[in-house]
């Protein structure tokens, strides 16, 4: 039946160029994939898409607030914009991007061929994606798009009793609840997968104390995810019971408590900040050593400090609630625990400085973003200590000072680190380097825009401007400051456009990267760029924390000193 020629032909011939295949076939391959690298890329692309959407929402708010007595959008739309901006950025931009980076890099860095549960990995991604789609369906669900549809308008922390059926009729709050519930399932699946991968799939010789710092920090992050997403899930189930079955969890009329929602939400909400910032620290801890040409300073202390941050972060949530009026010893406890978390964070900053100290620093775009990230972490941490003092917080809680503080963390550290990581690992993912000139433009424009917006934003906060305010009168003296804040946003938009253009342009025209363009030391740089489906033809064996240093310097390997 079959002649010799057709038998000798392999069933699947590698295609000459992926682009030559029909679009349907290529997208099908991505939709059914269980490969951690493809899922990682999908996570990050999905996160970047929502980063842009959330950025547009922020820009609408800043346009509204640029001038006194402005009526660019309606108050209802403004409420929807700040709710959707916060929810989107936390759950559908930052979380997918940090999970995507972990998904892509953790198996490569520990010398594994895939995650522990590849199909669960795909399931988790699609659940997260579904969550985002449900949340954004709210814009066209219900009454349609005119005037921004029926998007949730209860704020990203959705305080009771505003979310009760009586005060939030219709389905806008339900989109918020169900979108987050569904994406929470995805987050727990991914966290479980990453923890199991790190514990069970390390290559021979990769002991826990030889793990790259990124892997360690993501391990602690994902352990944290496992226990903090659930309280939000529980609280949201209770809210659904309240809204649809007439339960009384948050119903003060029947003896329920609105304050307990705050507790449940912030038991999730505060550690969530660390879930986002630890992966950012992870990126800093990989980029800074490579571009300082020195191994990381104080590896063990760094790991222990991160563990300390993970533990303490579970006991600080009520510093979001000083203005509620808790008993004095509760205030004292949360002041102390919040101030205490500055100690391990400070240790990390000294470790990064120690790594750069005396190093031959290479000021590539990735390194510039990392250095800025460290500096901004210091400032964000200092305003954090200010807000940790209950009396200070009574004065400035829920003002623009708080907004400026946490955007300093989220933009100044997390987004800067994500940018840094994008320049650093882009060559591994695509095989091509990003353009450095455009990268420098991106860096300086974003740095100027960031500082113009968020340094200045502290001042209207101190002058008494509350968060979530729709508009204000000219006589308040907030006008000039707000205009400056809004002008900063323009710089940031241009910078992000530079970045997106760079991402797209470099994938076609970027310089060929080779396996190891940065002369780095972790395992992912030993395989090809982009890595093959199976990552490593031969499972590597490592003998120290810097396996590639050992390989490149057989005369002076690291393992001699461990």
């Amino acid at each position: 039946m079959l002649d010799a020629d057709s038998v000798s032909q392999p069933m699947f011939v590698p295609q000459a160029g992926a682009a030559s295949r029909p679009l349907f076939e290529r997208s099908h391959e991505w939709i059914i994939t269980v490969d951690h690298k493809k899922l990682g890329i999908m996570y990050v692309s999905y996160g970047v898409l929502f980063l842009v959407i959330g950025g547009i929402e922020a820009s609408i708010m800043r346009a509204q607030l640029a001038f006194a007595n402005n009526h660019l959008v309606s108050p209802q739309t403004f409420n929807r914009m700040f709710t959707m901006h916060g929810t989107t950025m936390i759950f559908f931009a930052a979380m997918p991007i940090v999970f995507g980076i972990a998904n892509y890099l953790v198996p490569l860095m520990i010398g594994a061929r895939d995650m522990a549960f590849p199909r669960l990995n795909a399931f988790s991604f699609w659940m997260s994606a579904l969550g985002g789609i449900i949340l954004y369906y709210s814009f066209i669900g219900g009454n349609g798009l005119y005037g921004a549809g029926t998007a949730p308008d209860v704020g990203w922390f959705a305080y009771a009793p505003l979310t009760a059926q009586a005060f939030s009729p219709g389905h806008s709050t339900d989109y918020w609840i169900i979108g987050l519930l569904v994406s929470g399932v995805g987050s727990i699946g991914t966290a479980l997968n990453i923890v199991t991968t790190i514990f069970c799939l390390r290559c021979p010789g990769m002991t826990m104390w030889r793990l790259p710092m990124l892997v360690w920090l993501n391990l602690i992050t994902t352990c944290l995810v496992l226990i903090i997403i659930s309280p939000l899930t529980s609280a949201q189930i209770m809210l659904l019971l309240d809204r649809y079955l007439g339960a009384h969890f948050f119903d003060t009329q029947a003896g329920g408590s609105a304050v307990i929602w705050m507790h449940f939400f912030w038991i999730f909400g505060h550690p969530e900040v660390y879930v986002l910032v630890l992966p950012a620290f992870a990126i800093l801890s990989e980029v800074i050593p490579v571009f300082s040409r020195k191994p990381i300073f104080g590896y063990n202390i760094m790991v222990l400090a991160t563990l300390a941050i993970g533990f303490i972060s579970l006991g600080v949530w009520a510093h979001h609630m000083f203005t509620v009026g808790m008993v004095s010893y509760a205030n004292a406890f949360f002041v102390a625990s919040t101030a205490a978390i500055a100690v391990p964070t400070g240790i990390k900053i000294f470790n990064w400085l120690g790594t750069m100290w005396g190093g031959k620093i290479i000021f590539s775009t990735a390194m510039l973003f990392s250095i800025a990230g460290v500096a901004q972490m210091l400032i964000a941490g200092l305003t954090g200590i200010m807000l940790a003092c209950a009396p200070f917080d009574w004065q400035l809680g829920n003002s623009y000072f708080v907004i400026a503080h946490f955007h300093y963390v989220i933009l100044g550290v997390i987004v800067f680190s994500i940018f840094s990581g994008s320049y650093y690992w882009y060559p591994k993912v695509t095989g091509r380097l990003m353009n450095e000139t455009l990268g420098k433009w991106h860096f300086w424009l974003f740095l100027i825009g960031f500082h113009l917006t968020f340094d200045v934003m502290h001042i209207p906060g101190i002058l008494g401007m509350p968060r979530r305010i729709y508009t204000y009168e000219a006589s308040r003296g907030w006008e000039g400051w707000n205009l400056a804040v809004s002008v900063g946003v323009v710089f940031q938009i241009v910078a992000v456009l530079c970045w997106v253009a760079n991402l797209v342009w470099s994938s076609y025209k970027g310089r060929e990267a080779g396996n190891d363009p940065w002369d780095a030391w972790t395992l992912e740089w030993s395989t090809t760029s982009p890595p093959p489906d199976y990552n490593y033809a031969i499972v590597p064996t490592v003998r120290s924390r810097r396996p590639l240093w050992d390989l490149k310097h057989p005369e002076d390997p690291d393992w001699k000193y461990e």
Binding site: L192, V195, F199, L201, G205, A235, G255, R543, P547
Partner: protein, 198 residues
């Protein structure tokens, strides 16, 4: 530097793929425990704060028989695992069936208890804070029992059809961890609902 392999010398850590099911299940149990602990906290926080009756000491009767059934199912599943280890598939199936029966008795007991509470004592989820927290906490646990029973039944069907073999011992063990967890949660729910906050 061409080869990706780095000095193929004596491996210090063997690849431990064998444990990944256990680690994954432990992670899931950690996440589930956090869900339950929030509901337990809500139950304790709202205990005695109901504005109207019925109150727990008037209507709740400790489900001793039910609890004994559920706790014994942890024992029968261990016996099933042991039979599996010795490659006695028929014995495994028998113990597995006992586990399902005990779980079903537990769920039917809960159903009867709820029926009595709703139709005789007039306690629903919207009656008062006790109803709200009672049905949500006990219901959350019952939901987990039903999920467990579904899994048990699927494995039972495969056993009857002859697909379950000695090589599935590991997967059976991972699933049994979930069932033990469901039982352990009942220890907490039982003591909180029927003892501490009554």
């Amino acid at each position: 530097m061409a080869a990706p392999s780095i000095a193929l010398k004596s491996p210090e850590v063997p690849l431990s793929h064998e444990l990944k099911g256990h680690v994954g299940m432990l992670c899931l149990i950690a996440a589930e425990s956090a869900i339950f602990s929030i509901f337990v906290v809500a139950y304790l926080y709202y205990a005695g704060k109901s504005l109207t009756g019925p109150y727990p000491n008037e209507v709740l009767h400790t489900p001793i028989f039910n609890s004994i059934c559920l706790f014994s199912s942890s024992f029968t599943i261990v016996m099933a695992e042991r039979a599996m280890k010795r490659n006695q598939i028929r014995l495994f199936g028998t113990w597995w069936l006992f586990t399902i029966v005990l779980g079903v008795i537990f769920i039917l007991g809960t159903a009867r208890e709820w029926y009595g509470l709703i139709y005789q004592d007039g306690l629903t989820i919207r009656t008062n804070l006790f109803g709200t927290t009672f049905y949500s906490l006990v219901g959350l646990h019952a939901f987990h029992v039903i999920v467990g029973l579904t899994g048990l039944t699927i494995i039972m069907i495969f056993t009857v059809l002859g697909y379950v073999m000695h090589e599935h011992e590991y997967r059976i063990g991972v699933f049994a961890m979930y069932w033990h967890f469901v039982d352990a949660v009942w220890v907490v729910v039982l003591s909180v609902v029927y003892v501490i906050a009554k």
